[in-house]
C-alpha cells in the first residue's frame, strides 16, 4: 500500500513539475497558464490581502451547505417514495439516467425570475443538480438491503419503525453515503456554475471577473482553491463510504 502511495505521489508530483517547467520555459505562455508555484503564491496573496476573499468564500459555502442539505433530505424522501411505488420507478428510470446529460443550469435564468438574484436561486440550482443523484442512490440503497436482515427483524418481532431504524437504515448506509458524496459533488457544480453565469457575490463570480479582466493570477489562485476543496471533500467522503462498505459487506 505504501508503495502505491509513493508511486501516486511521484506521478502527481511529476505532472506538476512538468507543468511548471513547460510554463517556465515559455512553451505554455503566461496568458494561457501561470506556473503552478505562482498559482500557490497568488492564492496566498489573495487569502492574505484581498478584503473580498472571506465574505465571498462564506457566501459560496453557505449556499453550498443549504443546497446540499436540500438535495440530500429531498432526495432521500423522494427516493423512499419512488422505491415504494415500483410502477412509478420504472417510468421515471430513463428520466433519472439521462438527467445528467442535460445542462440543468440553462434553467438558471428562469430561477432568477422566480427567486431573484441572490442565495435562493443559487441554492435551488445546486439542489436541482444534487437531488437526482441522491434519489437514485436511495433507491439502490434500499434494494441492496440483504433479505436475511429483514428475516432477522421478523424473527426478532421488530415493528416496522424499529426494522427501518435498526436494520434497513444501517444496512443501507454505505449506498446512502455514495448518494451523499455525489450530491455534494453535483451541488458544488450547480452553485459554482450559477455564480459564474450571474451573481453579485461568491467565489464563482470572482473567477468570472478575473477571467474577464485577464487577471490570470487571481483566476488560477481561485481555481486551485476550488479544485483542491472539491478533491479533499470527495476524498474524505469517499474514505467514509469505503469504511461503511467494509463494515457492512465484508467479503
Amino acid at each position: 500500500m505504501t508503495r502505491v502511495r509513493a508511486l501516486q505521489l511521484v506521478l502527481v508530483g511529476g505532472a506538476v513539475v512538468v507543468l511548471e517547467l513547460l510554463c517556465r520555459a515559455g512553451i505554455i505562455d503566461r496568458f494561457t497558464m501561470i506556473p503552478p508555484s505562482e498559482m500557490l503564491l497568488a492564492l496566498a496573496h489573495v487569502v492574505g490581502t484581498e478584503p473580498w476573499f472571506w465574505p465571498d468564500v462564506s457566501y459560496t459555502l453557505g449556499n453550498l451547505g443549504a443546497a446540499i442539505a436540500l438535495s440530500v433530505a429531498g432526495g432521500f424522501l423522494i427516493g423512499l417514495l419512488v422505491h415504494a411505488l415500483p410502477r412509478l420507478r420504472r417510468v421515471l428510470d430513463p428520466i433519472f439516467t439521462s438527467y445528467y446529460a442535460v445542462p440543468t443550469f440553462v434553467l438558471y435564468p428562469l430561477l432568477i425570475v422566480f427567486f431573484g438574484i441572490g442565495p435562493a436561486s443559487l441554492i435551488v440550482l445546486g439542489a436541482l443538480f444534487g437531488i437526482v443523484a441522491m434519489i437514485v442512490a436511495t433507491v439502490t440503497a434500499i434494494d441492496r438491503v440483504p433479505r436475511v436482515l429483514l428475516k432477522v427483524a421478523r424473527v426478532s418481532r421488530l415493528g416496522p419503525v424499529r426494522t427501518a431504524l435498526l436494520m434497513k437504515l444501517p444496512a443501507a448506509s454505505p449506498h446512502l453515503m455514495t448518494g451523499l458524496r455525489l450530491a455534494v459533488a453535483y451541488s458544488v457544480i450547480g452553485v459554482i456554475a450559477g455564480e459564474f453565469i450571474l451573481s453579485t457575490e461568491g467565489v464563482g463570480r470572482r473567477v468570472a471577473l478575473a477571467y474577464n479582466n485577464f487577471d490570470n493570477q487571481t483566476m488560477y489562485a481561485l481555481l486551485v482553491l476550488i479544485l483542491g476543496f472539491a478533491i479533499v471533500v470527495n476524498a474524505v467522503l469517499g474514505s467514509l463510504e469505503q469504511a461503511l462498505h467494509r463494515r457492512w459487506y465484508r467479503s
Binding site: L7, M33, P94, S98, V102, P109, F196, L223, I226
Partner: protein, 246 residues
C-alpha cells in the same frame, strides 16, 4: 406486468408532468415559465425551421468528435490500468479524484488554451466523458471472476486471446454501463462548451435565448435536448440490459 399497463404508466406520467407543469405555470407566471402546449409547439417549429438544423449539425459534429476521443481514450486507459494490478491501484484513485472535480470551473482554462470554436467544445466534451469510461472499464476488469482468468491460464491462452475471448465478454456489460454514462457526460460537456465558447450549435442557441430572456425558446430547446438525451439513453439502456441478462 403487461405491455398495456406499461404504456398506461407512461401515459399517466406524461399526464402528471403536464398537470404539474400547468400548475407551476399558473403559480410562476409567463415571466418564469412557458406553458406546456406553447413549448411543444415551439419545439415543433424548431424542428421544422431551416435555421435549426445547421446548429444541430454543428453540435452533432462536435459531439461525435468528443465522443470518439472520450470513449476510445477512456477504454484504452481503462484497459491498460485494469489489466495491470499495480497500475490500477496507483491510477484509479487519481482518476476518480479528477472525475470528482467540478469541471465547469475549468472552462476559462479551456478557453485560454483552445480559444473560441469547435476545438474548445470538443475538448470540454471529451474532458467530461473520458473519466467515467476509464473508471468503469477499470472496475469491470477488476471485478472479473478469478475463475475465468485461471481457466484462461489453464487453457494457455495468449494475453491477447485472453483479453478478446475471456476478459472482454466478461467485462462487457459493465463497460457498456460506463460507455452510456460517458455518452451522457460528453453530451453535457459539449453543450456546456457551446454555452460558453461558441458561435454556433444548440448550446449557442440556448445562451442566446438566455441572454435575450426568451423563456419559451429556453424551455423548448431544453425540452428537445432532454428528449434526445432520454431517447439515446433508453436505447443504450436496452442494449445494456440485454448484455446483463446474458
Amino acid at each position: 406486468m403487461t405491455a398495456r399497463t406499461r404504456w398506461l404508466d407512461y401515459v399517466l406520467l406524461a399526464g402528471g408532468v403536464w398537470l404539474a407543469w400547468v400548475l407551476l405555470f399558473q403559480w410562476a407566471g409567463p415571466e418564469a415559465l412557458s406553458p406546456p402546449g406553447a413549448t411543444l409547439r415551439r419545439a415543433g417549429e424548431y424542428l421544422a425551421s431551416a435555421t435549426f438544423w445547421p446548429h444541430a449539425a454543428a453540435t452533432a459534429v462536435a459531439f461525435a468528435y468528443a465522443c470518439l476521443i472520450a470513449l476510445t481514450g477512456g477504454l484504452a486507459l481503462g484497459f491498460a490500468l485494469g489489466a495491470h494490478r499495480l497500475a490500477g491501484q496507483v491510477g484509479e484513485p487519481i482518476l476518480s479524484s479528477l472525475y470528482s472535480i467540478p469541471k465547469i470551473t475549468l472552462y476559462p482554462v479551456i478557453l485560454l488554451v483552445f480559444g473560441l470554436g469547435i476545438s474548445a467544445k470538443v475538448a470540454f466534451g471529451a474532458l467530461h466523458g473520458f473519466f467515467p469510461v476509464a473508471l468503469f472499464t477499470i472496475g469491470a476488469l477488476k471485478n472479473t471472476s478469478p475463475v475465468l482468468i485461471k481457466t484462461a491460464r489453464v487453457l494457455r491462452l495468449a494475453p491477447l486471446a485472453t483479453a478478446r475471448t475471456v476478459l472482454l465478454p466478461a467485462a462487457l456489460p459493465e463497460i457498456v454501463t460506463g460507455l452510456r454514462i460517458g455518452f451522457s457526460a460528453t453530451l453535457l460537456g459539449t453543450l456546456i462548451g457551446e454555452l460558453f465558447a461558441s458561435d454556433r450549435g444548440l448550446g449557442f442557441m440556448l445562451i442566446r435565448a438566455m441572454e435575450a430572456h426568451k423563456v419559451l425558446d429556453i424551455m423548448a430547446l431544453t425540452l428537445l435536448l432532454f428528449g434526445f438525451a432520454t431517447a439515446a439513453n433508453m436505447l443504450l439502456l436496452a442494449v445494456e440490459r440485454r448484455l446483463h441478462r446474458r
